[in-house]
Symmetry: C2
Subunit: 581 residues, 2 copies
């Protein structure tokens, strides 16, 4: 046994005990003939006191050295109330250096001086920092609680394969050449979708899995090529059952890990979300919902509004005092190419009851008062207006609203506002490919009452699909699935599959539907994102032990990397262009 106790364990009750501790030197300082060392491990920090007889060895201790000490627990003179071991210290009798450390390339402190790239390269040192240890501890705790909860309501965790089959639908697959089956490839799963459906066909009734998924997409900020999903499926359920089941799970998680009590989560249709927030994952921690003011602004000679499909206004409360400079910055913001608005109209609802706008030339005070009434703006508020095509304007206004939410401090990461969004469209038209795509995935069932529209107006068909949104981020989504061969087949038609393609790719699933498939549905929650949100952080990277950078590289192990000619030959593959810029 290397140690008798950890560094988070000893208390005033342990005084006079002979102990052996191990850990890392957090820091050491000399005071006269004495050396004080903070010894750290995952469990805490214990102060060591080394007398004159240990001066030589204690003096040589450097940060991050790994040591083993034996000594006696004594009461501390100047107690540290900030740590649980702060009332005691160890009068050290002997020190063994188990492993010296070079000087780390950055400080191992809560706030480090290391840059992003350096910390990724030395991830094993970054992972020593307390914020990251807390993040991974929270992740562990959440996974334990999720499993405990789902186990208690009869879900089985069932592992599904990672070497599966490439499918043309959805995002790009990572593929794996097969040596035993030359010219053929496995794919890594983007999700275990078809397998969990088959498990329902097999009668497993309630399935879950905390499972890795893979997408070979160009990585936007805060996406990872491999990510973890809480993947769930239930048989003999409708949408209401799923929402209730997983809402209860989330309520439990909030309660047990954050101490926050929720009665129930609000629900909003996709149509309402788009109309009021211009977005299918609204952040409802704050209001500032959309007002469509076409009627009150039209026919006053302001051509831009007269010609616009939609004129949308939001109200920033208590912002009528915004300066010219602040307003110009907002105008610049919405004109940025990635947002693409042509301009931004404002109306200040002054405290004295007067109005001041950027379109005073066209609108009288009375006109502006009508706008304010329409928007529910009160004295002291600022009205911001965008106009143009409806969808584009909704998008732009959504971005502006979130931007203002950030600026005004309305998006506090310690406030949690979950929301169900439901009644998503089944299909979306893709101009580029000139065909419909599945908005969720091809296995999502259309609403019974909309099934007639599949033949007449497919774009109007609503799906039994739903998302769980938390603070403006989608943390999960799911649907009631198709369980009927004919409907599934029709769905593949609509998505542009030929009968042969559909059979080749998903024949196993359609066949399975012919052998007694129960009604079923499910949900998948993004576990990395959930951990980050529960940890009050916006980025997932610190909640993943060994993440990849934005080029999909692990810079610590330097992967991906070339493989040998022999490996390629064995796999019967070759590289096309040897030289890559």
């Amino acid at each position: 046994m290397y140690r008798s106790h950890t560094n988070g364990e000893l208390r005033i009750e342990d005084i006079n005990k002979e102990v052996t501790l191990c850990g890392w030197v957090q820091k050491s300082r000399e005071m006269g003939a004495m050396t004080f060392v903070d010894l750290r491990d995952r469990y805490g920090i214990t102060q060591l006191v080394c007398g004159e007889e240990l001066l030589k060895i204690a003096k040589d201790l450097g940060r991050e050295d790994v040591i083993q000490v034996t000594g006696k627990v004594i009461e501390r003179e100047s107690k540290n109330k900030n740590i649980p071991t702060g009332e005691i210290e160890i009068a050290v009798q002997s020190i063994t250096v188990l492993n010296k450390s070079k000087t780390p390339p950055f400080t191992i402190e809560d706030n480090t001086d290391g840059g992003e790239e350096l910390r990724m390269q030395y991830r094993y040192l970054d992972l020593r920092r307390k914020p990251l240890q807390e993040a991974l501890k929270l992740r562990h705790k959440l996974s334990i609680e999720i499993r405990k909860y789902l186990d208690s309501i009869n879900f089985f965790e069932i592992e599904t394969p990672y070497l599966i089959k490439s499918t043309p639908e959805g995002a790009r697959d990572f593929v794996v050449p097969s040596r035993m089956n030359p010219n053929q490839f496995y794919a890594l799963p983007q999700s275990p979708q078809t397998f969990k459906q088959l498990l329902m066909v097999s009668g497993y009734d309630r399935y879950y899995q905390i499972v890795r998924c893979f997408r070979d997409e160009d990585l936007r900020a805060d996406r990872q090529p491999e990510f973890t999903q809480i993947d769930c499926e239930m048989a003999f359920v409708d949408q209401e059952d799923i929402l209730n089941t997983f809402e209860a799970m989330m309520v439990h998680l909030f309660q047990i890990t954050k101490g926050i009590e929720f009665d129930s989560f609000p629900r909003m249709s996709y149509a309402d979300a788009m109309e009021n927030y211009g977005c299918d994952k609204p952040d409802i921690r704050f209001g500032m919902t959309f007002n469509y003011i076409n009627e009150v602004v039209k026919n006053k000679g302001f051509a831009i509004f007269d010609d616009a499909e939609s004129v949308i206004a939001i109200v920033a409360e208590d912002c009528s005092t915004y300066t010219r400079k602040e307003l110009d910055k907002l105008v610049d913001f919405v004109k940025r190419p990635q947002i693409g608005a042509k301009g931004l109209i404002y109306v200040k609802c002054n405290e004295d009851g007067t109005f001041k706008s950027s379109v005073d030339k066209f609108y009288s005070e009375e006109d502006l008062k009508a706008w304010a009434d329409k928007c529910g703006a009160k004295a002291g508020d600022l009205i911001l207006v965008l106009s143009g095509d409806k969808t584009a304007t909704q998008n732009q206004m959504n971005t502006l609203r979130l931007h203002l939410g950030n600026e005004l401090g309305l998006r506090n990461p310690n406030i949690y506002a979950p929301l169900w969004v439901y009644d998503f469209p089944l299909l979306e038209w893709d101009e580029e490919s000139g065909r419909y795509h599945a908005m969720h995935h091809p296995f999502t069932s259309p609403k019974k009452e909309d099934i007639g529209l599949l033949d007449t107006d497919p774009g109007k068909v609503r799906a039994n699909a739903y998302d769980l949104v938390l603070n403006g981020t989608e943390i999960g989504g799911g649907s009631i699935r198709i369980h009927d061969r004919a409907v599934q087949s029709r769905m593949f038609d609509l998505l542009g599959f030929s009968k042969d393609e559909a059979q080749a790719q998903f024949g196993f699933l359609m066949n399975a539907f012919e052998y007694g498939a129960p009604p079923h549905g499910g949900i998948a929650l993004g576990f990395d994102r959930l951990c980050a949100l529960f940890g009050g952080q916006e980025t997932i990277r610190d909640f993943i032990a060994f993440p990849k950078n934005n080029n999909g590289r692990d810079v610590m192990i330097d992967s991906p990397s070339p493989i040998s000619k022999e490996q390629l030959e064995e796999l019967n593959i070759d590289i096309i262009k040897k030289e890559v810029v």
Copy 2:
């Protein structure tokens, strides 16, 4: 809500309740105007009684149809004591067919009439059978218990990446071409070995993960290209700590899932295991250990024994009555090419005190009595003797011993005999490549007292490595790791790595050792195998929801499969030989 209760739930106390049930038609039979239907789901079977008014619909019900019924719980006239719901039945008021089933290609019964290939193709139907449902339920339960146990002793489950780096050591990697990093490949992990070691360097202290691992090996019977491992690592431990920790976990698992109590597991050195069982994973459910009888058999004119390095005898108790035919079958068995013995000598220790052997020409009764004394054989026993090179003879005798164990019913799958094997050699010489290979892996630490031998006689160096063996199957293995850069570097030398290769492949780990790496070690247990053994089965296939066949194929989804030209081009790879036989 599709149902008010499951089919395993209703009891005599529920009589007169109006209920709605869903499930699969297990079977139905008509008795006069009544139809009795067994309705099945994961939770059990409930008997339905349909009266005359439902005759038409009930008559049409076929096996595996999915139905929903409403009705009233009534007491059964002829009670079925074999099932928990056997005291009640449902007087059905209405039936809704949720989904018809075609006739399944094989019967969904405990003992099915379906062949292996057909059941793999229709895995979703095979998974409906109770033995498979029980297998996956056991797997779920074991995973829950393992996590609960490890959580209770401060282990964190930490997820490590699946897209890592190909390394030349060990088995063949599955590789994944990177689109974003052309000409470069990820590899799927054979185990998270280096990552768990880095987590120890990071101070996580106690790590575990139930994790998928991948090996692109030619599949022997009962191996899978992807398999699941219980992967564990601890810091500040020696071998004794690891053995004690995981022995306690296994004792707990045996107790909680099998109701079997173990005090502690026996331990055996690798040298003793080889000497007494000719194998590093002895099945100690039965004796029949090796006797080296060279001294008593030599110099009697029997050249084969005189020239042999080793003459090894085992005693089959109470088998002196084996017939000529039975003995010939044993001789044929050991002569099979995959075993390769030249012959088998037997001595019958007859009940009457006489001896009869296949070498009576060379040995007197007195000689044979000396053999029997040497082997501890008693009247009624059969002595079986193989001879030749020591290692080859040990191998052959191991196979014969296990064969006899099976024949004599000494390998009862419901008896559990765990065993620790320790002090494995660090290296083994590979004739083909003319160099040492790591017996466990390159990160295993040599025993301190043997470190001097690294330079003089590397093959003699023992490692701090250990295996957990259950009923003759290795279910886990691990080691105390090297945590010192110089020792790790020396190890790579011995394994034939150049300095540059070692740095390119494992530089990140050796660098990490310079920043305060604690002493650490761990173990990995094969979860698929563990489940199978706990389930009293020899093959793992039924304990994996969607296994692959011996060619690494998933015949249900027909994977691996060709991918499109566009996919290949995007990945900058091409197939070398288009035509494959």
